[in-house]
C-alpha cells in the first residue's frame, strides 16, 4: 500500500471517503475540525455519493444523524468540545434509538474558560450514554478505527453509535504517514451498504422513540445495556478481521513491555506515544516499567486491565482529562473499580496532565515516574495530582 502524509483530520476524512456514507451532517462550531471541510471537498468533487447536510448547530447535526440513521442510512459526523456538549441531549437518544452513527471527535478542552486545544474530557463525559467509545494514539489509528467503527456499530448484535477520539491538534492537526485503506477494501470489509433491520419503513410502519413510563423505561435502558455487553465480542471480532486485512493489530487494552514490568504507566489516546518513549528510555536505565493503553473506553475491558496489573508493584495512571470532587480522575476511577473487582491493590499514583493542550514532555514522564516510584518504595500510593499546574 502507498503511504501518504496527512493530518489526523485528513486521515479520518479519507476513512470516511472510503466508507462513502449516505449522509454526513455536521456543523463547524468552535472548535472546528478540518474533517468535514475535507469531506465537503470530496462531495464537491463527486468523490462520494453522500448527502452532506450543513446543519445550523451541533444539536441539529446529531439530530439529523439520528433521523438519517433511523431511515436506514449509513451516517457519519464529527465534533469536539463545545459542539459535542451541545449535542449531549441527542447523543443519549442516538444510543437508545439504536442508530449506529459514527462520530469522529477531535478531542478538545471544554469551556470555560474557552480553549480550543487537546484534551479527552469532552468524549469521556458521554461514557454513560450508551455509545461505544474509543480513542486513537496516532493518525493511522484514527483512520483505521473510523472504518472499524461502522462495522462494530452496525453489527446486528450491537446497533449502537460509536465515537472515535483523536486528540485535538496533537493528532488532528499533526502530519504523519499513514497507509490509507481503499474504498474497495473498506466496502468489502463492511459487506457493502448498511443493512438496517429496524428502520422507518413505509412498507412496515414502525414507531420509534415512544414514551416509556415506569412500567417499561428500565427494560428499554436494559436493552442498551445488553447491546453494550454484546459489543465486547463484536469489537474483538472486528479488530481480528482488521488485522487479517491490514496486518495492523488492535486490542481494547494494549500493553507495551509489560511481561516483566514492576511498574506501569496507564494512559489513553496520544499520550501513549510519549509514555512509550519514556518506557524505552527508563528501560534503558534498568527500570522495569511498561505501558498499558486503553483503546476502547466504553465498554470498559476491566479484566484485560487487571490481568496486566496483577504482578505490578505500582501503577501510574496518566490522563489528559479532568473532573472535580470525584474518587480520583475520570479514567483512574474506572481503573480502581476494575482492580477492586479483582481484589487487586497495587500501589497507585494518579495524574491529570496536559489540560487545554498543555504540553507534557517525555522528561515530565521521567519526573512523574520518579515521584511515583519514590512513594511506592515507601509503601505509599499518591492521590490524584494535576501535573504541571501552577498552584
Amino acid at each position: 500500500m502507498t503511504r501518504i502524509a496527512v493530518t489526523g483530520d485528513d486521515a479520518v476524512a479519507e476513512a470516511a471517503k472510503s466508507v462513502n456514507p449516505d449522509v454526513v451532517a455536521a456543523y463547524p462550531i468552535t472548535p472546528q475540525t478540518i474533517i468535514v471541510e475535507r469531506f465537503a471537498d470530496f462531495v464537491a468533487d463527486g468523490e462520494v455519493d453522500t448527502e452532506f447536510v450543513t446543519v445550523e448547530s451541533e444539536h441539529s447535526a446529531m439530530s439529523a444523524c439520528v433521523g438519517a440513521s433511523s431511515a436506514g442510512a449509513r451516517v457519519f459526523t464529527s465534533s469536539a468540545s463545545a459542539g459535542l456538549m451541545l449535542m449531549y441531549e441527542i447523543i443519549f437518544v442516538a444510543a437508545s434509538s439504536r442508530t449506529p452513527i459514527v462520530m469522529a471527535i477531535a478531542n478538545r478542552a471544554i469551556s470555560g474558560p474557552i480553549n480550543i486545544h487537546g484534551e479527552l474530557t469532552d468524549q469521556m463525559l458521554f461514557r454513560d450514554s450508551g455509545w461505544v467509545s474509543m480513542f486513537s494514539e496516532d493518525n493511522q489509528e484514527a483512520h483505521d478505527q473510523t472504518i472499524m467503527a461502522f462495522k462494530i456499530g452496525e453489527h446486528p448484535n450491537v446497533l449502537l453509535p460509536v465515537g472515535v477520539g483523536l486528540d485535538g491538534f496533537i493528532i488532528s492537526h499533526a502530519i504523519e504517514g499513514i497507509e490509507p485503506v481503499s474504498r474497495e477494501v473498506t466496502q468489502k470489509f463492511l459487506g457493502g451498504e448498511r443493512k438496517a433491520a429496524l428502520k422507518l419503513d413505509t412498507t412496515k410502519p414502525l414507531s420509534i422513540g415512544l414514551l416509556h413510563l415506569q412500567d417499561y423505561y428500565m427494560e428499554a435502558r436494559a436493552q442498551v445495556r445488553d447491546a453494550h455487553e454484546r459489543s465486547r465480542k463484536v469489537i474483538l471480532e472486528v479488530f481480528n478481521e482488521w488485522e487479517k486485512l491490514t496486518g495492523r493489530k488492535y486490542k481494547p487494552v494494549e500493553s507495551y513491555k509489560m511481561d516483566d514490568a514492576e511498574y506501569a504507566f496507564l494512559t489513553m489516546g496520544s499520550t501513549a506515544g510519549n509514555a512509550r518513549t519514556a518506557v524505552d528510555d527508563l528501560r534503558a536505565k534498568g527500570e522495569k516499567v511498561g505501558l498499558i493503553k486503553i483503546r476502547v473506553y466504553r465498554p470498559f475491558f476491566g479484566d484485560d486491565v487487571t490481568e496486566l496489573c496483577k504482578n505490578l508493584k505500582g501503577l501510574i495512571t496518566i490522563e489528559r482529562s479532568h473532573n472535580f470532587g470525584g474518587p480520583g480522575g475520570i479514567l483512574s476511577s474506572d481503573i480502581k473499580s476494575a482492580l477492586f473487582n479483582k481484589r487487586l491493590s497495587p500501589l497507585l499514583a494518579e495524574y491529570t496532565i496536559g489540560l487545554g493542550g498543555r504540553d507534557t514532555l517525555i522528561k515530565d514522564y521521567y519526573s512523574i515516574y520518579n515521584r511515583s516510584k519514590e512513594a511506592f518504595n515507601t509503601g505509599k500510593s499518591l492521590p490524584l495530582f494535576w501535573w504541571g499546574v501552577r498552584e
Partner: protein, 321 residues
Amino acid sequence: MTIEIPKYKLKDLVDKPTYFSGGHRLCAGCAAGSMARQVTMAFNKPTMIFNSTGCLEVASTIYPFSAWEVPWLHVAFENSAAVASGAEAAIKAMIKKGTYTAGKTDIVIFGGDGGTYDIGIQAISGTLERGHDLLYILYDNGAYMNTGIQRSGGTPFGASTTTSPAGKVVPGNTQFRKPITDIIAAHRIPFVATASPAYPEDLIGKVRAGLDVDGPAFLHVEASCNRGQRFDPAKSIEYVSLATQTCMHPLYSVIDGEYQLSRPSARIAKDPSKKVPLEDYLKLEGRWRHFFKPVRREELINKFQAEVDKRWAELLKKAGY
C-alpha cells in the same frame, strides 16, 4: 412550479383512510387529535411522520402502543425539523444508490407552539433555509399544554397560563403572539399556509399542497386545548373556529411569496360585517376570564382587538384587498 391547493369536499373526504387510529390518550375534546386525523387523510403515497415532544407525541405513543399507522419517529422537543431533514437527506442518498425502494416519500413534521415558536425555531429555520423537501405542521394551542400550561411565544395576548398567570397586577400574558407565519414566509420557501381543524377541507387541501410542492412547506394550525384554554371539551371545534372568524387566526396561503386568503377568511374580507368581534371569542374561554371578571377590563379587550385588526389589515393588504 406554482402549486394549486386541491379543493376537497367533505363527502369525498369521509371515505379517505386515516393513519391515526383511535385509542390514543389525548384528552376528550383535544383538537390535536382531530387535526392529526385530518392531516393523514391527505396522504397518498409512502409517508413518514416526525414528531416533536408534546401532547400529540406523548399521548399517541405510550409504549407499547402507537396510534400511528405510518412510520413515526420522535427524538426530542426542539429538533424534529433537523431530524426530518436528516431522514430526507438519507432517502435522497439511498435512492441515488438504489438502496431505497419505496420511491418518493412524503415527510411530515408535527411540532407544538413551544417546539416551534421557542425552542425549535433554530432547527426549523435551518431546515427551511437548506431547502429540504418536507412539510412542517405547527399545531398551536397557545401554550406548553403538555407540561402544564406554561406560556410560549405563541401564547395570545392576555391569556392566563401557569407562567403568565392573571394576577392582581399583571393581567396574564403581556405579549402579543409572535408572528410565526410571517417569520416562516420570510424564509421564501415555496409554500406557507395557515389552517384550522374547524375547516377540514381547507386543512387537508393545504397538507396535500404542502407535500406536493417541491421543497419546504409550513402549515400553521390553530388548535384548541380545553384543559389549557379552559372551556367545555364539547366546544373544541366551535371555539377554534372563532379564532378564524374573529381574524385572530385568519386562513391564508403564501405560495411563492403570493398571499391568498382562503375561503373562510376571504368571506370576511369581502364582507367585513362577517368579522366576529374578538370579545365574543375571549369571553368563552377561561384563559381570558380576568378580562371580564371581577370587573370588565375594557382597555385589555380593546388593546387585543386593535392588534388583531392591525394584523388583519396588513394581511388584507398583502393579499391584495
